[in-house]
C-alpha cells in the first residue's frame, strides 16, 4: 500500500465566471465540511481568476478554513490549458487528499484533464459522498436494495466512497480510488445542500497566495467571446416550485406553457421546467430541461404535466419533496414516482386546479 500520509485536507475547486462564484461552489464547500469533519482535516477552497481575492470571504462563509488564490490576467476566463496547469501545480505543491469539482460544463472539461495529468482516479457526477463506512452503510440502508445487515463491511476503510448514477440512472455505483491521491470527484450541481452562511467564519478566512508560473505560450486556445443566452436564466436548481411540461402539451403548446406558468405562480412563484421531448422539439430552450442530461432538481413541489416519466426524466426530479403528476395515460411510469396522481387531460385539470388553489389559499 502506498504511503498517503502527506496528502491532507479536502479541497474544492471554486468556479468563478466573470468574477462571480457559482452556486455549485457553495454546495461543494458545504459538503466538504462534512467530509473534513470525518477525516479530521481542513476545508480548502481553490480560486483561480483575475482580481478574485475578494471572493475568498464568501467561500469561507460556507465552511472553507483556507482559500488558495491564484490571480493572473491569463486566468480571467476559463481555458482548459491555463486552469489545468495551475491546478495541477497547486495539487503537486499542497497534496490534497480529496478534490471536489462541480460537474458543470467547465468542471467536466477540467477534471478529466487534470486527473489524466496527475495520474489519479476521477469519479464523474457524484450524487453522494462518504468517508466513514458507518455513514455509507446508513445511506445504503435508505437508498439501495442491498441487505446491509447481511453484508460484510470494512469499518476501518477511509477511502472516499463516491456514489453516482450510471446507465441513465438505472444503476447506482459507488466508486473508490484506493491506490492514488488525490481522490477526485466531480459533483452534480443541485444535489448537495448548501449550508447557512456564517459571517464569523467568513471573516476568519486565511488567504494563501502561492507563487505559480503561467505564460501565454501555455495556452493553445483563445476565448473570442462569451455570450449569455438571450433568454433570462431559468433558475431551476434554486426553485422551490417547478411545474414541468412534457410531450402532452403538444395539442396546444403555447397554452400548455402558459398554464404551467400560471400554476407555478399560484403555487407560490415557481418556474417552468420541461422534459427532453419539449426542448428537443424547440418548444422551450434547453435551460428548462430537467433530467439526466438536463438539471437535477429537488423542489418542495414538482408538478409533471403530460410527462410520461422516462427514467432519464425521473432521475432528475425524483428527490422532490412532493411530486404531482397529471397525465392522460394511467399506465404512464410517472405515476410510479408521484405522491399524487391524476389521470386526465391537463388542459381541463390545470385550469380547475388553479381555481381550487386560489380558493384554498383564501380559505
Amino acid at each position: 500500500m502506498a504511503d498517503f500520509s502527506e496528502y491532507k485536507n479536502v479541497w474544492v475547486f471554486c468556479e468563478q465566471r466573470q468574477g462571480e462564484l457559482q452556486t455549485t461552489d457553495f454546495e461543494l464547500v458545504s459538503e466538504a465540511t462534512k467530509l473534513a469533519s470525518e477525516l479530521g482535516c481542513k476545508v480548502v477552497g481553490l480560486l483561480l481568476g483575475d482580481n478574485v481575492k475578494g471572493l475568498a470571504n464568501e467561500i469561507a462563509g460556507y465552511g472553507a478554513d483556507e482559500v488558495v488564490v491564484c490571480e493572473s490576467p491569463l486566468l480571467k476566463d476559463y481555458t482548459t490549458d491555463a486552469y489545468a496547469k495551475v491546478l495541477c501545480d497547486m495539487v503537486n505543491e499542497f497534496k490534497p487528499e480529496v478534490l471536489l469539482i462541480g460537474a458543470t460544463n467547465i468542471g467536466r472539461d477540467l477534471a478529466p484533464r487534470i486527473a489524466a495529468r496527475l495520474h489519479t482516479g476521477l469519479t464523474a457526477d457524484a450524487t453522494h459522498l462518504d468517508i466513514d463506512t458507518k455513514g455509507y452503510v446508513e445511506y445504503l440502508r435508505e437508498s439501495s436494495t442491498i441487505d446491509v445487515d447481511n453484508t460484510t463491511f470494512d469499518w476501518e476503510d477511509r477511502n472516499l466512497k463516491m456514489t453516482r448514477p450510471a446507465f441513465g440512472g438505472h444503476l447506482m455505483a459507488t466508486i473508490i480510488c484506493p491506490r492514488f491521491r488525490p481522490q477526485i470527484s466531480t459533483v452534480r450541481p443541485g444535489v448537495m445542500k448548501k449550508a447557512a452562511f456564517d459571517s464569523a467564519k467568513a471573516q476568519a478566512v486565511k488567504v494563501i497566495e502561492p507563487a505559480f508560473e503561467l505564460s501565454a505560450d501555455d495556452i493553445k486556445t483563445e476565448v473570442l467571446s462569451i455570450e449569455k443566452a438571450a433568454n433570462k436564466l431559468v433558475d431551476l436548481i434554486g426553485a422551490d416550485i417547478i411545474v414541468s411540461v412534457g410531450r402532452g402539451i403538444g395539442k396546444d403548446v403555447e397554452k400548455g406553457i402558459a398554464l404551467a406558468q400560471e400554476l407555478a405562480d399560484v403555487l407560490g412563484g415557481g418556474v417552468v421546467g420541461a422534459s427532453r421531448a419539449v426542448t428537443d422539439a424547440g418548444w422551450l430552450d434547453a435551460a428548462h430541461q430537467v433530467g439526466q442530461t438536463g438539471k437535477t432538481v429537488h423542489p418542495k413541489i414538482y408538478v409533471a404535466l403530460g410527462i410520461s416519466g422516462a427514467i432519464q426524466h425521473t432521475a432528475g426530479m425524483q428527490d422532490s419533496e412532493c411530486i404531482i403528476a397529471i397525465n392522460k395515460n394511467e399506465t404512464a411510469p410517472i405515476f410510479g414516482v408521484a405522491d399524487y396522481g391524476i389521470v386526465g387531460d391537463l388542459f381541463k385539470v390545470v385550469p380547475q386546479l388553479i381555481e381550487e388553489i386560489k380558493k384554498a389559499k383564501v380559505a
Partner: protein
C-alpha cells in the same frame, strides 16, 4: 489532413434496461446502438471531409461485436475503421481506456492539420471523461461541448456550450473536439455505402500491436491500470406508489391536500 473519430457501441439505455440479480447491467439482453453524441462527432468529421476532402478514420475500443458499428460508420462515409480490441484491455476505467485509445491514435498518427473528434459522453457511463483524457495523453488542446464548428485556415472556431450561454473558442490544429447532439443532424447510411462496407477491411489493433507504445504498460491498462474501482453497485429502491386521485372533484381534492400539508 485527417479527421479521427472515436466511437463507442453502447447498450440502448432509452429502451428496456435489464439488470441482473447481482445488480449489474445485463448487457447481453439489450439492443446496442452507436452512442448518440458519437454520431454527432462522426457527422462533424464527415462535414469536414465534404468541405476539404480529408480522410475520415473511425476508431473504437471494445469487443469484436463493435465491428458492426464500425461498418455502419463506413456506410455513412468513413474511409477507414480501426478496432482496438484485446482481453488485456478489459475492465478499464476512463483513465485506462483513454490511455489505450490514445495509443491506438498514435498508431494511426496525428498530423499537424488533423482533428480528433469524440462525443461529449457515452450514455452508458455518462462520465464525459474519455475525450479530455485522450487529449491530455496525446498532448492536444481540447474543446468540449462543441455545438458549432467552423474551419478558419489552420484553426477551428468552436461554439462551446455553457449552462447559460456559450463561449466562442479558437483552437489551432491538431486538436481534440468533443461534440454534443445539438451540433448537427447525422446523415443516414447510403445504399452504396451499406453494400461496400461489408467488403471493407476493419483494421484490428490488439495488445501486441500496441504494446510498444509508451502509454501501454501493465499498470496503465485494464483492471490493474485503472485508478478507480467499483466498490459496490446497486439498484435504487422503487419509490412506493403514491395516491391516485379520482372523481369529478380531483382539483378540489388536491388543493385541499396541499393546503392541509401547508404546501400552499
Amino acid at each position: 489532413m485527417k479527421a479521427i473519430v472515436c466511437v463507442k457501441q453502447v447498450p440502448d439505455t432509452s429502451g428496456k434496461v435489464a439488470v441482473k440479480e447481482n445488480g449489474q447491467l445485463d448487457r447481453a439482453s439489450m439492443a446496442t446502438i452507436t452512442n448518440p453524441d458519437d454520431l454527432a462527432a462522426l457527422e462533424a468529421a464527415l462535414r469536414l471531409k465534404d468541405a476539404t476532402g480529408c480522410e475520415v478514420v473511425a476508431v473504437s475500443m471494445g469487443p469484436f461485436t463493435a465491428e458492426s458499428m464500425l461498418r455502419e460508420c463506413i456506410a455513412r462515409g468513413a474511409d477507414r475503421a480501426v478496432l482496438i480490441s484485446g482481453r488485456e484491455f478489459g475492465g478499464s476505467d476512463t483513465f485506462a481506456t483513454s490511455q489505450i485509445i490514445a495509443a491506438g491514435i498514435n498508431k494511426i498518427g496525428v498530423g499537424p492539420e488533423d482533428v480528433v473528434f469524440c462525443g461529449r459522453q457515452a450514455i452508458d457511463g455518462d462520465t464525459a471523461q474519455v475525450g479530455p483524457q485522450i487529449a491530455e495523453k496525446l498532448g492536444l488542446p481540447q474543446v468540449t461541448y462543441a455545438a458549432e464548428i467552423e474551419k478558419d485556415g489552420n484553426s477551428l472556431i468552436v461554439k462551446r456550450l455553457l449552462e447559460d450561454g456559450y463561449m466562442k473558442i479558437k483552437v489551432q490544429t491538431p486538436c481534440l473536439i468533443t461534440c454534443v447532439k445539438e451540433l448537427n443532424e447525422p446523415r443516414y447510411m447510403s445504399v452504396p455505402g451499406i453494400f461496400s462496407c461489408f467488403d471493407s477491411e476493419i483494421e484490428v489493433l490488439d495488445y501486441p500491436a500496441l504494446q510498444d507504445d509508451p502509454l501501454i504498460e501493465v499498470d496503465t491498462i485494464g483492471l490493474k491500470g485503472s485508478p478507480t474501482n467499483v466498490f459496490k453497485s446497486f439498484t435504487p429502491p422503487q419509490k412506493g406508489a403514491g395516491t391516485m386521485l379520482a372523481g369529478d372533484d380531483v382539483a378540489n381534492q388536491l388543493a385541499t391536500i396541499l393546503a392541509k400539508k401547508h404546501l400552499i
